[in-house]
Symmetry: C2
Subunit: 345 residues, 2 copies
DNA sequence: ACCACCTTTGCAAACGTTTGCTATTATAAT
DNA sequence: ATTATAATAGCAAACGTTTGCAAAGGTGGT
């Protein structure tokens, strides 16, 4: 029999595994003396329970899966950190899956994670076909989306109000005197992109500015697509002029900025740029990119809390939770203010 | 008996669990017809193996623990991403522990991870007392350090050459005409800090510049300590003058920059700064902080590869692996070049 | 001296797999 | 018809726990 196991120690003591187990778990109600004997033996062998065996028996792994497109982005890193912070005291650990923005990898990971019997799933999906996720729901494993609103029932979601995010950006540009505003939107097959676009549109129409479809370009959240979209906008600038552009993802923002630079245009003198999810360096001495931001830390904290209530009460809540947090604007130096000309620079 | 299990399906087919198991794992050698029957039944019930049970039986969880101080830092995020990328094809998943730079949390996590029977451990320790880690070594669980050189035997390490990092920084400053160079070093109880300091010293002495101890300050890698150290340096500047400072961590660099700004001094005109691990925004249109960098992606890739060979061959290699990667300088706009005055700005 | 009851501990099944060995049956060789 | 051989499938133990139930032993009351 393997050393270091409950059974082994029990046999050595002439006791049963049950007794030792109960002592280990603080459920022992018997003789104080034997309790001490057991405790000593545990100490002596420096017994360490096997969580895998425990998991099997309890059918709970105390593990939360986090599936996201790119852990190296500060945005996701911060969310993960906050989730961890929230759930670690309850003994849960995080198992991390980076999908590299690939739908196929996401599906594969979801399958594996289901096999591994994670207790809960946090998902920033890039492919909310949602089929791979339905197994989780069917088995009452809590699922929380952190990036967009799921199409299936049974999934909670904690996101920002993406429509408002679009509005904030456009409102700010309007307040700076811009009226010809272009935008680069990520995929609209998810609510995320669609809502940001909706916010853009409604802010315009609220201010009686007619929307110009040739000022709306679409990308896939990645750098190259932002570059390409910006090029198209610039190429068509004679016909569809604009003074500012609202780019709706971090990577696409970098792409757009690069495209602008490649044409030897200046930001913000020639074109104003407002980005998304840009994490400017903490050293605020220097130039910053104006950006719409999400409160990642609050998102993460909320996800953690929600997960814990789901997991503890072990009741799937009657209603899917929907928490919408506030996006906010972080002013930088990439938007020109026509209202107070020449003051900013 | 629980539905969805091997046993259940076996019973329904009038077969034994063994047979079904063997089909599932492609180890079945029997009658083609029964194989098909089993396959159909598996399909029909959409059978999903329970990895927890498998892990218990195989005593291998296909899980790699990654323990680090702060996953929200791009530096660690990138390393994690690359490790994941390297090992995911082999079926390994990452379990993530963020220690929030606390030695106690690190120890706690290491204990838990050992209980959870992870197959390997990647550790960026902040407390290489190493005691919590010795259990892993004793049980032939591969351990790789990614931040400093372990004191214990049996641990591999993949780091940059930290001495060279110090030399690179100082050499660059010297080449720009600086001779009075201060430095802010993280804890020297780890090799990381000690080596960077050694590099700083040797670069000075190689150039026949006498080291001035009052230009060497110590911090704990965090922002506040960088701020404080910089203040001390500035307060003492009459007695110990300097034109440049080499700060040896990302957060301390931000702290130092803030201290400089708070005194209304200009970077680089009044003081040149060279940081560490600074991830300047990808939009290289803008001002950047001059910094020593580590090739995170290569570190991650190497860690992944090393882990896989350890895990696959299941042999603890005779010798502890030591891989030293090259740090590199990323030039920015925070170092003044006295050699070609007024050209850079 | 008997019964009732409480205290202390153990038995055995269960969690869901994998796998070495054996049993059964069919096939072929003599 | 007998035996050797191969093909097929199952038994049962193992992985290391947890836990409902039962058994053993002890105590005290009558």
């Amino acid at each position: 029999m393997n050393k270091g196991t409950l059974k082994y120690i029990a046999k050595e003591l002439g006791l049963s595994a049950s007794t030792v187990s109960r002592v280990v778990n603080g459920k022992y109600e018997g003789n104080e003396k034997t309790k001490q004997r057991v405790l000593e033996a545990l100490e002596k062998h420096s017994y360490i329970p096997n969580e895998v065996a425990r998991s099997l028996q309890k059918s709970s792994t105390e593990t939360i899966a986090v599936v996201l497109p790119d852990i190296s982005e500060t945005f996701f890193g911060t969310i993960v950190k906050e989730i961890e912070n929230e759930v670690s005291d309850s003994g849960y650990m995080l198992i991390l899956a980076d999908t590299h923005e690939k739908a196929e990898k996401e599906r594969k990971y979801l399958d594996i994670l289901y096999k591994r019997r994670v207790d809960a799933l946090v998902l920033a999906t890039i492919d909310s076909n949602g089929d791979a996720v339905s197994k989780f729901i069917a088995n009452d494993i809590p699922v929380v989306f952190i990036d967009n609103i799921p199409k299936l029932d049974g999934i909670s979601a904690i996101t920002i109000d993406n429509k408002k995010a679009g509005q904030i950006a456009v409102d700010y540009l309007l307040s700076c005197g811009h009226t010809q505003i272009a935008t680069i939107i990520g995929s609209t097959s998810e609510t995320t992109g669609a809502d940001r676009l909706a916010g853009y549109c409604s802010a315009l129409s609220d201010n009686n500015i007619e929307k110009n479809d040739s000022l709306i370009k679409f990308g896939d959240y990645k750098l190259d697509s932002g570059y390409k979209a910006m090029c198209e906008l610039l190429d068509n600038r004679d016909k569809a002029h604009f003074t500012a552009v609202f780019v709706t993802s971090e990577q696409m923002t970098y792409g757009a900025l690069r495209a602008i630079r490649d044409r030897n245009l200046n930001v913000p003198d020639d074109i104003s740029v407002i980005g998304f999810d840009i994490h400017n360096l903490k050293d605020d001495r220097r130039q910053m990119i104006t950006t719409v931001r999400q409160p990642e830390d609050i998102i993460g904290k909320n996800v953690g809390e929600l997960l814990l209530t789901h997991l503890r009460e072990n009741d799937t809540p009657k209603e899917d939770t929907r928490i919408f947090l506030e996006p906010f604007l972080q002013k930088g130096d990439t938007v020109k203010n026509f209202k107070k000309e020449n003051i900013l620079f």
